[in-house]
Subunit: 486 residues, 2 copies
């Protein structure tokens, strides 16, 4: 009878475990979809306002600039009042928690509310901020609350090891629901949060992540955005001859530059924080007037991206999602003949007084420091997506240069195979985000994001090279933040 009792308990626990993981995945998918929806609406409203006032350039400028300033200020204020724990990415703190440090109140309901509202308003502002890190934090809080809400789960996660198992799965779900990338999500969360990883947690995270990604994409089908379940940033690169072996050298160069660039980003971000902290008067002033710093940064950034001003030379009117979609575009922008769809994309990146190379360079340089500044704001915001966009832009730059240099492809004999600049953009995005976060699983994330894996070797080479260089020069952005907070 003791045996039977034991078996019953074990079975009941396994059953509960499954249900819990399923619930976690589904609820995070719903949350992710709802948040994406709201954020997109905010960004549309911003653009709509700008377009409506097209007869009054000054009003246009005011609308373009005040919208982010108000949103960011609200986000900063709300987060400060409700829970200051919601500030920032959340991955560094989750890393600390998973190592056994108890951060009080970090996973409370109050923090959850602050993080969700703060994140929606921060991203709705249109500043170069990300959703990935905060989503890992949100998933962990949802997991914690789910286990508390449903009484019968309480038993499972009472002891510490099970609690950390649950949080590890939650981190995976967080990344996965964000990108609809279950495999990459699991791996990325392992890389950024764990030192030693229990392999039995692996399928738990996997299961939950698949549930999450499935529901997340299914919602898009139900919402008539997509015909069927597909990748988030689906690409249509040629697969019969995706790249030539000689092109791998150019991909290695992307890796090298992204490695140095990633290290520079981490260094620059830390210097911004240290600068603010070093000047005592400045610190005092900023602490007294909490809205000043976010408002100033939002003002500067949105002034610079104003589409009638400098913005026209740096694709300023594009949201991050639009920018990624266009940078991953299948066509070669310098090719000459372009159809209507293509022309529309190119028009964002080409200016009568300039060309796409100049635009891309300005885009990269401006967004580089703006992203690093924006991430230091006291709002819930991640660093992954801004860096991802930067990397994509750099990759596109290299790809377009290659395409201009070798119009018929690099092969001297046989059938010419043109270069695909979009493939370079994918590799660049993976390499720079990998360099900043010290992960190689960004490569898997881009395969899942684009729905294509033909560029696997170029991407892996770029990511590995970038990682080697940035790991040698700087800590990861998350370790850097831990270092700053200490």
């Amino acid at each position: 009878s003791y045996m039977i009792w034991c078996r019953n308990v074990v079975f009941a626990k396994i059953g509960e475990d499954w249900i819990f993981l399923l619930l976690l995945g589904v609820s995070m998918a719903l949350l992710s979809f709802a948040m994406d929806f709201t954020i997109a609406k905010c960004q549309k409203a911003h653009y709509w306002l700008y377009m409506e006032l097209s007869q009054y350039p000054l009003l246009q400028y005011l609308a373009w600039v005040m919208f982010p300033v108000i949103f960011i200020s609200f986000s900063a204020g709300f987060t400060h009042i409700v829970s200051a724990n919601a500030i920032g990415s959340g991955i560094p703190e989750m890393k600390t928690i998973l190592r056994g440090v108890v951060l009080k109140e970090y996973l409370s309901f109050r923090t959850l509310v602050a993080k969700i509202v703060g994140l929606i308003t921060a991203l709705g502002s249109g500043l170069p901020l990300g959703k990935e890190g905060p989503f890992v934090h949100i998933a962990s809080m949802v997991a914690q609350l789910l286990s508390k809400l449903v009484t019968s789960f309480r038993g499972i996660y009472e002891n510490e090891s099970r609690n950390s198992e649950m949080l590890a799965a939650a981190c995976a779900v967080g990344v996965s629901c964000n990108f609809a990338a279950p495999i990459g999500g699991v791996l990325f969360s392992i890389e950024v949060t764990s030192t030693y990883f229990a392999v039995r947690n692996y399928w738990r995270g996997f299961f939950s992540a698949v549930c999450g990604a499935f529901i997340f994409r299914l919602l898009a089908v139900w919402n008539r955005e997509e015909e069927t379940i597909t990748a988030l940033f689906k690409t249509q690169f040629r697969v019969d001859y995706p790249f030539d072996v000689q092109e791998l050298l150019a991909f290695a160069v992307i890796g090298i530059v992204c490695g140095f660039g990633g290290a520079l980003f981490v260094y620059f971000h830390r210097q911004v924080v240290y600068f603010n902290r070093k000047h005592r008067r400045l610190t005092y002033f900023l602490q007294k007037n909490r809205f000043i710093y976010p408002a100033i940064i939002a003002f500067i950034c949105s002034s610079l991206t104003f589409p009638l001003g400098l913005g026209q030379y740096m694709a300023g009117e594009l949201t991050q999602k639009e920018a990624i979609n266009e940078l991953f575009d299948n066509h070669t922008w310098t090719k000459g003949q372009a159809d209507v769809d293509e022309e529309l994309i190119i028009s964002h990146w080409k200016h009568p007084q300039s060309n796409i190379f100049v635009t891309l360079v300005i885009f990269i340089v401006m967004n580089f420091w703006m992203s690093a500044m924006a991430v230091t704001l006291p709002v819930p915001a991640g660093v992954f997506i801004p860096v991802f966009v930067l990397g994509a832009a750099f990759g596109r730059l290299v790809g377009e240069s290659m395409a201009a240099w070798f119009p018929l492809g690099v092969r001297s004999d046989g059938i010419p195979h043109r270069i695909i600049p979009g493939g370079y953009a994918v590799a660049g995005a993976a390499a720079l985000s990998g360099a900043v976060t010290h992960t190689v699983s960004t490569s898997v994330i881009v395969f899942e994001l684009t729905g294509q894996i033909a560029h696997i070797l170029p991407v892996l080479i770029a990511v590995l090279v970038a990682n080697v260089i940035s790991q040698w020069l700087q800590p990861s952005i998350y370790d850097s933040i831990i270092q700053i907070k200490r």
Copy 2:
């Protein structure tokens, strides 16, 4: 000065580490390519012999049957004489070693020679045997030897923890070079060998695996087999609408059946071993006459696959590689109109007196028990590829049935999207191999193998469902082998 000395030592070690991982990847790639080449030549010789004698059916039969009997007998004899440690897969033993158990002589040079020669002859015979497990073992031995050969490496891997780091990387390289699947290789090797995994080993395995996969595929380009670096079993499925959401149910059914099928395979394999062991006289007889058992099994299997006999109803003349390529085919076999290439593929699976459904069922049933028997032979051989082929055949069966049932696709409204049976074959292959080995990373392996990731959700669902069921019913094949050996 102490600091400088320290730094020098650390730097020197990091440098050596890199070089070691690079060398390991490259040498395993060369080995894998050379072995594939030799095995393919053996299999071609077998088929050539069969075709040359086409006027004398009896001689044809003799040639078709004696060839494998001789090869398998040689393999069994050679392995027995040189090193009995080379028998079997190698993954169970590597799992044991990585948990800290010392298996004497298991990684010696003698075992390496026995494993390589034994594996080439065993696979050259054409029996349903795999190369993955043995390759993990071979990679570990090569790593061990590399570290001994190059004097300066000796320092690095003297202590135990570094030694196990090296072996973990080697396991990853072994899988990766086999399938040209670096990411899947790393994950698969983690899943089958580790309980707790040190995340810092992850990039080591990754780096080495990427080097290996790169060189492995580059050799194919240099050898004029491929135009550029591509996937090993490249598929060309439609990506704009790879599957309908409703089709996911069919994929879940594949997962359920593969889960039960995988558990049955593990159970059946164990029963075969126990049967041989239980009958004392049989055991004694077999030990005395070591060639009898392998020769009998080889004789039975090749008699059954004889293309003029039963083989014509079960695609008996195809090698495993050919079978995978054809099962992953893009076309629907029941469609009616077929071009020349298609007709050739279908001709292997269709018989005037039968249809493709019957052929597939016979193929699955016969190969199921033949694979389980073949794996018990005392030769170096793995279980992954035979099971992979079985799963692919089952998936193709479900896919073709679906295509016959819904000729215009499952959607009732809008544009009809036909069903892609090849996608089902890919999911089936991943699900069954995942069920037998208790891994979810088989999903990643199939994406890398086929070069397409559009079917990510169906594959993940099938693999997860299959894993849940088979983990509930049976241990993994590797744990089962450990259990048998105890």
